[in-house]
């Protein structure tokens, strides 16, 4: 079922999503996006860069943010654009807490603001434009 544009109001909140992030998600996400940068699959490379463990690559964060929005919006929604700002790193063993709300709804397109926080603070803030039926 898809959310319809005429049901959407600014201020409406999306169902929250808590993702317990594992090494499988970090490494699996990096490889699914064909990103073989060592810090995303090799703990010693991550540690040489000052982080305790492998950390999530941007494309995986991008994937989780868009999944979070389409989980709510449904199969007939069309993502037109994503603006994404990264904060602290996302590491295995921590939880990515995705929260979102509709900030505007005009001409069939909803603007959704998303935050993803973890134990370190803020990992990501994003704004998505989603065309709704």
């Amino acid at each position: 079922m898809s959310v319809r544009f005429d049901e959407v109001r600014a201020g409406q909140e999306l169902p929250p999503l808590d993702v317990p992030v594992t090494a499988a998600i970090v490494v699996g996400g990096a490889l699914a996006s064909r990103d073989y940068t060592p810090v995303h699959h090799d703990r010693s490379a991550a540690q040489a860069n000052g982080l305790p463990d492998v950390f999530m690559n941007i494309l995986t964060t991008n994937g989780y943010v868009s999944r979070f929005v389409t989980d709510w919006a449904g199969p007939d929604a069309i993502i037109r654009g994503i603006k994404l700002k990264l904060g602290g790193p996302m590491l295995p063993g921590d939880t990515l807490k995705l929260r979102g709300s509709v900030t505007a709804a005009e001409d069939g397109v909803a603007e959704v603001q998303v935050t993803g926080d973890n134990a370190w603070g803020n990992h990501v803030t994003a704004t998505l434009k989603v065309a709704l039926p």
Binding site: S33, N62, R67, T70, P75, R80
Partner: protein
């Protein structure tokens, strides 16, 4: 550090990269395909039927299977050879990074991306990417170190040459403030930062020890009986140095407060209600109010202290409202 002359030369060298394509337009190695889509959806926990279920996709607004739009960049990622890093440059972007690394700007951090999708891709299509170094900022001092923001802009076209989407990607290439630590044995990795600990000295360590024993102590002058907090060696009323302490009941009223929402430094739950509490013994103390909606905090509200223990075992007195 570079000398002013060397710095000027360096900046001219890096500026020369602005506007350059990182390589000739590069076709994706593979067509948009279901196995890669499935692998992506597995890793993202994405079960949207338009990506995986052709019957459901046919009934959707898309009329058939499509690829997740956030995968756009994945179709043309370099892939396995990326594990070699940029030490052996394979395109202009790598050469720019190497130039900066060699000048001491060894750190790299993705900061933001902006992307637009003109349409969703379908299995069987083959896209081509064209990436240009769009901008290099003036040198900036940041929280992680001094460096330059590099923006690259990629556009993807389909086989007909039509643009299907674009992405601009900004990274900070910087001189790390704290040099990277050597890889440890991996045994003592701390994955979660904790509260900043109070400095302990001979005038206040006793107070934290009492708190660790479950008490909320208030220092008292042995001469004139005046209470004081935080702990210190001399009474500000009579100048005497002798002291003992009483144990507070922990009952108090809120004198004043502020709510800290930003910046959200690690190790704390936000928002923080930072409070000045008047204990019933007559002493004012700084603490936090917890188990309370920030909207419900009112000056004069009744509070009760309790000893909170962090995950790492550190104890401190906090306050919560009493009905």
């Amino acid at each position: 550090m570079l000398t002013p002359e060397k710095k000027k030369e360096f900046e001219e060298q890096i500026r020369a990269y602005v506007g350059k394509p990182i390589s000739p337009p590069t076709p994706a190695r593979d067509e948009v395909n279901e196995p890669m889509i499935r692998q992506w959806c597995d890793a993202m926990g994405d079960e949207l039927p338009i990506y995986l279920d052709s019957d459901a996709a046919a009934k959707s607004v898309h009329g058939g299977l499509v690829a997740p739009p956030a995968m756009l960049q994945a179709w043309t990622m370099e892939g396995f050879s990326m594990h070699e890093g940029y030490d052996v440059p394979r395109n202009e972007e790598h050469r720019l990074h190497k130039l900066m690394t060699d000048a001491g700007y060894t750190g790299v951090l993705g900061t933001d991306i902006e992307q637009e999708f003109h349409r969703y891709l379908r299995p069987g299509e083959r896209v081509t990417v064209n990436t240009v170094i769009a901008d290099i900022s003036p040198e900036k001092a940041t929280g992680v170190g001094t460096g330059y923001f590099i923006t690259t802009r990629s556009t993807w076209t389909d086989e007909a040459g039509e643009e299907v989407g674009w992405l601009s990607f900004r990274v900070l290439k910087f001189i790390p403030k704290d040099p990277p630590k050597p890889a440890s044995d991996g045994g003592a990795v701390q994955s979660k930062p904790s509260r900043i600990k109070p400095p302990r000295g001979q005038d206040n360590a006793w107070w934290w020890d009492e708190v660790a024993n479950g008490k909320l102590p208030i220092q008292r002058c042995k001469s004139c009986g005046k209470l004081r907090h935080p702990p210190r060696p001399i009474c500000d009323a009579c100048g005497a140095t002798g002291w003992d302490f009483i144990e507070s009941t922990g009952r108090g009223t809120l004198h004043s407060f502020t709510i800290i929402r930003y910046p959200q430094f690690p190790g704390y739950e936000f928002p923080i209600i930072a409070a000045l509490v008047d204990l019933e013994e007559g002493q004012r103390i700084v603490s936090n109010v917890v188990d309370c909606d920030p909207a419900d905090v009112k000056i004069g509200m009744k509070l009760q202290s309790f000893i909170h223990e962090d995950e790492d075992g550190f104890k401190l007195p906090l306050f919560r409202p009493v009905a």
